[in-house]
Assembly symmetry: C2
């Protein structure tokens, strides 16, 4: 049976690193700023790419429907740290007008930094909880968006406080605990 | 005279950071591996972009005509360091097969590092002397390619030895001395 053989002989699939972004904006319901995001959908992307976030659908992979957002607000690029077997991510502010807050670090135009495994990213009234769940593949990773119902800066959101500096190095209550950070 | 007024009222042009790449390959004459590069031409690029180098014209901005080169070999992205008023560049190895040597640092697949103002980058038999001449603009920069007639690893090439570690923090004999590194 060739179909079965194909299945049995195929390479073992590698798990993908999942980059999960929980988003919040105080006017998300009235203004539908996140209407272009497909929530809970996992999207597979190549590690060759740099993913841009902003207002312009021509320039960005993920867009916000809001004139207060720059055409390109920030970018995210996967990379591999020298001492790590898994993917990491770097964030760069591409807005000339607005600072990007990564934890308590303020990134001006073209400033960049490596993202910790879990942190809060903000610009204007936008809030993003960015969380990485490590996978085996280096060539591909996936993204997943979740809509928060209230501010990410409030304590005990999602059952777990985010420290005041916006970074968290503790583990999440999942099976991947040991390898995640 | 509207033409003159336009000229007189126009914003003062900002100088552009020039990223100069001197290239060398031992078979550059026989195999014409650099035939797709336009030497001595200055090309203006946006700081929004990530520039890819490799074999594939569909994926890369600058291409090498050589089957030993990966479809995408490495990328270069402009950014601004927190404590600097000028553009810097980060290099990332995108080849799964070949290491990228930046000075004496070996970058594996998806490893990245910030480039010093002057350094030698190598993969396979390819050699690149990458030199940054600072300009005022942050939004744009320019690239310029020069063809070397002999190996960049030989001493006193271009009147100035490149140290054994491949990095140079000393200044070049130009008017920009003070601000360049």
């Amino acid at each position: 049976m060739p179909a079965m053989s194909g299945f049995e002989d195929a390479d073992t699939e590698e798990t993908l690193t999942c980059f999960q972004v929980t988003v919040y904006h105080p006017n998300q319901e009235q203004n539908q700023v996140f209407q272009m995001l497909r929530f809970f959908n996992r999207e597979r992307l190549s590690s060759m790419e740099v993913i841009k976030f902003g207002r312009s659908p021509n320039l960005c992979h993920y867009t916000f429907r809001d004139k207060q957002v720059s055409r390109v607000q920030f970018s995210l690029q996967p990379f591999k740290q020298f001492n790590s077997p898994v993917l990491s991510f770097e964030i760069k502010n591409l807005s000339k007008k607005t600072s990007l807050l990564v934890g308590n670090m303020e990134l001006g135009y073209l400033n960049k930094m490596d993202l910790p495994g879990r942190c809060i990213v903000r610009f204007g009234e936008y809030q993003f909880l960015m969380e990485k769940e490590d996978g085996e593949s280096l060539e591909y990773f996936e993204t997943r968006f979740v809509l928060a119902s209230r501010s990410l800066l409030e304590e005990r959101h999602y059952g777990k406080p985010v420290p005041e500096n916006g970074f968290s190095s503790s583990t999440l209550p999942t099976e991947m605990d040991e390898n995640e950070y």
